[in-house]
């Protein structure tokens, strides 16, 4: 039996798209295998376009709207991610990967402009403004890190004049996402983390998660009936918490060995003894409660949320119906069960703490998780300083052929040889690549942009490889940690068919970034050379300077000059005095 119906859930989520100003938030909790828990936070605020024109902001953050207006940005998607989604254990990605970004920071936006140059200058304005707003190094997204994807992204919003829209996409794979990015993120929310589900977002727990991604999506939404448009901003946070790790108190986060009495030993083993213990997997769902997992209590509902209908239910948990859940609150709340009781939603009390308590429980029904359509892994092969190759392994476990777009945007110093590009499927003799879009790199000007539309047959594995050459950088182009290597951004895979998502979001997955070791000079050597040459220069210069400015006089001339120094001055004064006295 299906205990988990993500499609239904997601559709229910976006059922109502209203043109008026409103604000919704929802937290979906979903236990995953291996004692992990997926927490998907979603915050959605609408502001009608007329209100925005009048500079009247209620739910939509003013700072953000002004940046968008200034940069002529019509639609924007910003992602901050840490860690990786373990698709093999956890199954399908939250939001089908549409609210997920590659490791680091990823940004793409549709910008209104007359031509490409104008679009790019507005793009620079946008990234620089966002950089300040989110305390991230977004300003480092320059021409070398920007691509213009042609197949991988479609606008989600309703754009009336789409001919002037330019899509630009930038990536910062090495950006470390941390609390300084969370704080501005929370500030954009109407309740600012003080109430509602956002009160659970604590930097310590969020960034200790096994996987976390923060997303900001802005798009115009138009009602087809009355033609009224509004600007919608969706903020989401998806995190996978390791329950055991998150339950550790903050003042004692060290995973010390448990006392032997607390470990369940397998007594059936012949060697089982007082000092020998084969740890037994209890195979039970672990106990947890919200306060424990998130390190802080859920401070009731955000008073700004609509209280009508299921939109007002801002906390949902997706578990098998048999899972015991206790609610711990002093306020008033209501519970609703949908989707064959696998989804329990709670309407939170306003002004009172709310907590869910799940006891340890032995389950009879397992967690059913939806299988992802594709699995992707990418790695660098080869070794040495000169060249290497990239191998992407894309596996299709399903019974249908899957068509997808593979987007690779590589830094300029990683120069792929397109003639070595091979896409190979074991069960297929024909080339799985149907369409290629390639824009080669220009040194120090722009990076490589490679987009491939491919079809992978049912139950097969596609191996994509290409060779590349490593450029030699100028010594000022190396970062301070030059010997770490250089990051190449993750590849973006968009699934085109046969799975069509019901909305315009699309189905995505991303690979992990690559670490590219480039030939690195010994940076202490220039230092040594500078020291040595400086010494030589100083010696040479000193001698020559000395020879040039020193006045050489013969021995016989010295006495004529008289003694130097104080004695000389005194003697001269004395002589003059004597002369004066003699005259007198």
């Amino acid at each position: 039996m299906l205990s988990f119906l993500p499609v239904l859930l997601l559709n229910a989520f976006l059922a109502c798209v209203c043109a008026s100003s409103d604000y919704h938030e929802r937290l979906l909790l979903r236990p995953l295998p291996q004692s992990t828990l997926l927490a998907s936070f979603n915050f959605r605020s609408n502001e009608s376009s007329t209100a925005i024109e009048q500079q009247n902001f209620r739910y939509f953050p003013r700072s953000f709207a002004q940046i968008l207006e200034h940069a002529h940005t019509k639609e924007l998607h910003l992602r901050f991610s840490v860690g990786r989604w373990d698709a093999e254990s956890w199954g399908q990605r939250p939001w089908y990967g549409a609210r997920e970004g590659g490791t680091g920071v990823e940004l793409w936006a549709w910008i209104e402009a007359q031509n490409e140059e104008e679009a790019f200058s507005r793009w620079l304005t946008l990234v620089n403004s966002l950089s300040g707003l989110f305390c991230a190094s977004l300003n480092f997204i320059d021409a070398t890190k920007t691509v213009r994807p042609v197949m991988s992204f479609d606008p989600e919003g309703d754009h009336t004049n789409s001919s002037n829209l330019h899509l630009l996409h930038g990536n910062l794979p090495h950006e470390v996402v941390c609390t300084e990015n969370l704080t501005p993120f929370l500030k954009l929310l109407p309740c600012k983390g003080k109430a509602g589900i956002s009160s659970l977002l604590d930097g310590h727990k969020l960034f200790d998660a096994s996987f976390q991604t923060m997303a900001v999506d802005v798009r115009p939404v138009c009602d087809s009936n009355d033609g009224g448009c509004s600007l919608q901003m969706e903020q989401s946070v998806d995190m996978v918490l390791d329950i055991a790790r998150s339950k550790r108190p903050r003042d004692n986060p060290i995973p010390r060995a448990l006392p032997i009495g607390e470990i369940e030993c397998d007594t059936s083993k012949p060697y089982d003894a007082e000092d020998t213990c084969y740890p037994l997997d209890k195979k039970v769902e672990p106990a947890w409660k919200l306060t424990e997992l998130f390190g802080r209590p859920l401070k009731g509902a955000c008073p700004l949320t609509e209280e009508m209908g299921d939109e007002g239910e801002s906390l949902c948990i997706n578990t098998p119906p048999e899972r015991e859940i206790q609610v711990n609150t002093t306020g008033q709340y209501s519970e609703a069960r949908t989707a064959l009781d696998t989804l329990r939603c709670y309407k939170l009390p306003v002004g009172a703490d709310f907590d869910l308590v799940l006891p340890e429980q032995k389950m009879t029904t397992g967690l059913v998780r939806a299988q992802p359509q594709l699995f992707a892994a990418r790695s660098v092969n080869g070794h040495g300083q000169e060249r290497g190759s990239v191998q992407a392994v894309i596996r299709n476990p399903s019974k249908d052929a899957v068509e997808f777009v593979y987007l690779e945007s590589l830094p300029w110093f990683m120069k792929p040889y397109l003639h070595t590009l091979r896409a190979h499927v074991d069960s297929l003799t024909e080339n799985p690549v149907k369409e290629t879009y390639y824009r080669p790199a220009v040194d120090r000007q722009r990076g490589t942009h490679l987009e491939l539309r491919m079809i992978i047959p049912a139950a097969s594995t596609l191996i994509l490889t290409y060779d590349f050459e490593k450029a030699i950088l100028r010594y000022t182009e190396y970062p301070p940690d030059a010997n770490r290597g250089f990051d190449a951004p993750p590849a973006v895979i968009r699934i085109l068919s046969p799975y069509l998502s019901t909305d315009k979001k699309g189905i995505y997955l991303r690979t992990t970034p690559l670490l590219l070791p480039l030939p690195t000079p010994d940076f202490s050597m220039p230092y040594n050379v500078i020291i040595l040459t400086s010494t030589v220069m100083a010696l040479g210069f000193g001698n020559i300077f000395n020879l040039l400015v020193r006045r050489f006089v013969g021995m016989d001339e010295v006495s004529a000059l008289g003694a130097g120094g104080i004695k000389g001055i005194l003697a001269a004064k004395l002589g003059r005095l004597k002369a004066l006295l003699g005259k007198a």
Binding site: E88, F207, R245, L258, I263, C277, G485, D487
Partner: protein
């Protein structure tokens, strides 16, 4: 100008050719003596951790308490495995990893070495760093069997227990790969080759799961059985294949953690007792040089080093009071240090000789030793080249044969001798018309032909022979030297690609051939090409020139191998074609004893290992690890030895 002209005058001085043999001998003596002073405090340094990020031993370790109970259980589990087939064993190990929620994969590999198959299977698990992005990884290895072919019970159990323990930490910034190769040398090689896609997919399976760039690898070798064994010291093995070494920082971190934090003594190069005396330091260094020079794999870590992955093996030795948990905590602390790394290990030395666990000699200090020895060959090569350009020595003045005296008149213009224009040019013309003829010349009939040279109005008589330009006949020496270098390919092929059973016969046959081949070649050479003494000299000159070049280049890559080959080739600088049978016989005997096969035989006898075993290992090295010690032996040492021997053997067949 005066200095230059006096130097130029010295150029033709007969004494100048007397000097190089002494200079060469001096260089060899200084080179060897240089090595002997290295263990002194003045020439070596205390080790230090150069990479700030490592912070060795700065963290508390928590691998204690109930982890010990779990470890014992895993050790019991592992103890039940050796009787199972490889497949069943690895399935069980994979299950144990899976219980710790790790991603597990297996890799089958087959190598063909000397017509026998080495085939086994690796099993490995990947702990994905909770906040890591799969760009970097560190490896923890416990080979199923150690270098002594004992089952690594406690080592494997320790890796399993540590995998379970590491999984609980959230601080890993890199992925951790737990690797249990089927054996100690070919398994890690197959795995690391496949990790970098440098494998042959027909015989070695590709890896199903990969992670990021490998930053370091640590192997544990603890073969204590299910009831444990308390050890005394940690033996840190650091030699990589082909004498490449891991970054000294990794070694220092291990020593610092083991001895500083855990109180476990560290030892290296099988020096179980080391009281830091000069002799023991020297012995450690020489053992290290021997291991480096031979270039064989010394543990599961060795295969990683050629891929620029710094790696060491920790081997427990002796009977003491340290238990498995202190080894586990050492590994934990080491991994915490490696986890701190922001960049690939690059700060410290990659070229060093270790004298004891915390004393080393850096490349700048030891390199001159091998370079001086290599330089001695180059000097001799130049000396022989100069000598080959000299005319044959003038006949003995006491000879009774009357020599007709051609006389030329030359003028020294400051640079060259030019014939005075008013003199007749023809050399053969009798010089009795010359008015400036030396009066003494007519009185002695036995003097060699002389030429009167006038310079700035003064005139001197010079033997004509020393004014003639001697042409060098280069073709024969060049062809001979080149062909001897190609000749080396034959034994290289024979030793690396023959079946194991035939290695011994081939060795004996080669030993016999190598003893007789120079004689045969000399005989053939003498009676088919009749080389002049000049050509013989040139053969030796070219051969020494190449030897000097190869050895000085090699010294920068593998110091020890260059040094060893240099010392063994040292007599080649001094051998000449001798006139007498006895002298030739003595020299030839010396050279036969120093041929590569004989040296190998003697070395095996001294070390107490079978020749076949060594040959088999060398063959394995060639097929599996990519060892190029053989190439140096047959491509550098053998041609030089052969050329020298042929030159000596020519003395047996006088013209």
């Amino acid at each position: 100008m005066a200095l230059i002209s006096s130097l130029l005058a010295l150029r033709r001085d007969a004494r100048i050719l007397k000097l190089p043999p002494y200079l060469s001998a001096l260089l060899i003596i200084v080179g060897v003596a240089w090595l002997l002073v290295l263990p002194l405090n003045e020439y070596s340094r205390n080790t230090y951790v150069s990479e700030n990020a490592l912070l060795p031993g700065q963290v508390h370790t928590y691998f204690t308490g109930s982890e010990h109970n779990v470890f014992r259980a895993y050790r019991q589990e592992v103890a039940a495995l050796p009787d199972l087939s490889i497949e069943e064993r690895n399935n069980k190990l994979a299950d144990l990893f899976r219980e710790s929620d790790l991603k597990v994969a297996k890799q089958k590999y087959t190598y063909q070495v000397a017509d026998t198959n080495i085939s086994n299977e690796n099993v490995y698990a990947v702990l994905q760093g909770p906040r890591a992005d799969a760009t970097e990884a560190i490896v923890l290895i416990a080979a199923w069997k150690n270098m002594a072919d004992e089952v690594n019970y406690s080592g494997v159990a320790l890796v399993l227990a540590l995998a379970r323990y590491f999984k609980r930490w959230s601080l890993w910034s890199k992925d951790i790969i737990f690797l249990i190769p089927g054996d100690s040398t070919s398994g890690p090689q197959a795995w690391v080759d496949a990790y970098h896609d440098g494998h042959d997919p027909r015989t070695i399976e590709s890896l199903a799961i990969k992670s990021g760039a490998l930053q370091g690898a640590v192997a544990v070798d603890y073969p204590a059985g299910p009831w444990g064994h308390r050890y005394d010291k940690l033996h840190i093995v650091y030699d990589g294949v082909n004498g490449q070494l891991p970054n000294l920082d990794l070694f220092n971190t291990a020593v610092s953690i083991a001895s500083g934090q855990m109180g476990i003594g560290c030892t290296l190069q099988r020096m179980w007792k080391h009281s830091d005396t000069y002799e023991e330091r020297l012995q450690t260094m020489l053992r290290g040089m021997l291991a480096q020079g031979l270039g064989h794999a010394t543990g599961p870590h060795s295969s990683f080093i050629p891929y620029h992955v710094d790696a060491i093996t920790l081997v427990t030795v002796g009977d003491g009071w340290h238990d498995e948990m202190s080894l586990g905590r050492t590994v934990e602390s080491l991994f915490r240090s490696l986890n701190n790394l922001l960049e690939h290990l690059h700060q410290s030395f990659f070229f060093y000789l270790l004298l004891q666990a915390n004393r080393f000699v850096s490349i700048g200090t030891y390199l001159p030793s091998a370079m001086l020895i290599a330089a001695n060959f180059s000097i001799m090569a130049i000396a022989l080249w100069v000598q080959s350009g000299r005319p044959a020595p003038p006949p003995n003045p006491t000879a009774t044969k009357l020599v007709k005296k051609p006389l030329k008149k030359l003028k020294f213009d400051g640079r060259h001798y030019v014939e005075v224009p008013d003199e007749p040019k023809n050399e053969k013309e009798p010089s009795d018309s010359d008015k400036k003829e030396d009066p003494t010349e007519n009185t002695t009939d036995t003097t060699p032909p002389v030429t009167a040279v006038s310079n700035n109005g003064s005139t001197a008589l010079v033997p004509t022979a020393s004014l003639q330009v001697t042409e060098r006949a280069l073709l024969l020496p060049l062809l001979f030297t080149l062909s001897t270098h190609f000749l080396g390919l034959l034994p290289l092929y024979a030793f690396n690609l023959t079946p194991a059973a035939e290695l011994r016969p081939i060795f004996i046959v080669t030993a016999n051939i190598l003893t007789l081949l120079p004689l045969l070649t000399a005989w053939l050479l003498r009676f088919s090409f009749a080389p002049t003494p000049q050509q013989t000299t040139l053969i030796q000159s070219f051969s020494l020139l190449l030897l000097g070049m190869f050895l000085s280049a090699l010294a920068t890559l593998n110091f020890s191998l260059s040094f060893m080959v240099g010392v063994l080739c040292a007599p080649l600088s001094f051998v000449r074609e001798r006139k007498g049978m006895v002298a030739s016989g003595v020299w030839y005997a010396v050279l036969v004893l120093l041929n590569p096969v004989m040296v190998c035989q003697v070395a095996c006898w001294v070390a107490g290992v079978g020749v076949e075993e060594v040959l088999l290992k060398a063959s394995e090295g060639w097929a599996v690890w990519g060892l190029w010690t053989q190439v140096v032996v047959w491509g550098v040492w053998f041609p030089a030895w052969f050329a020298g021997s042929v030159v000596v053997a020519l003395g047996f067949f006088p013209e």
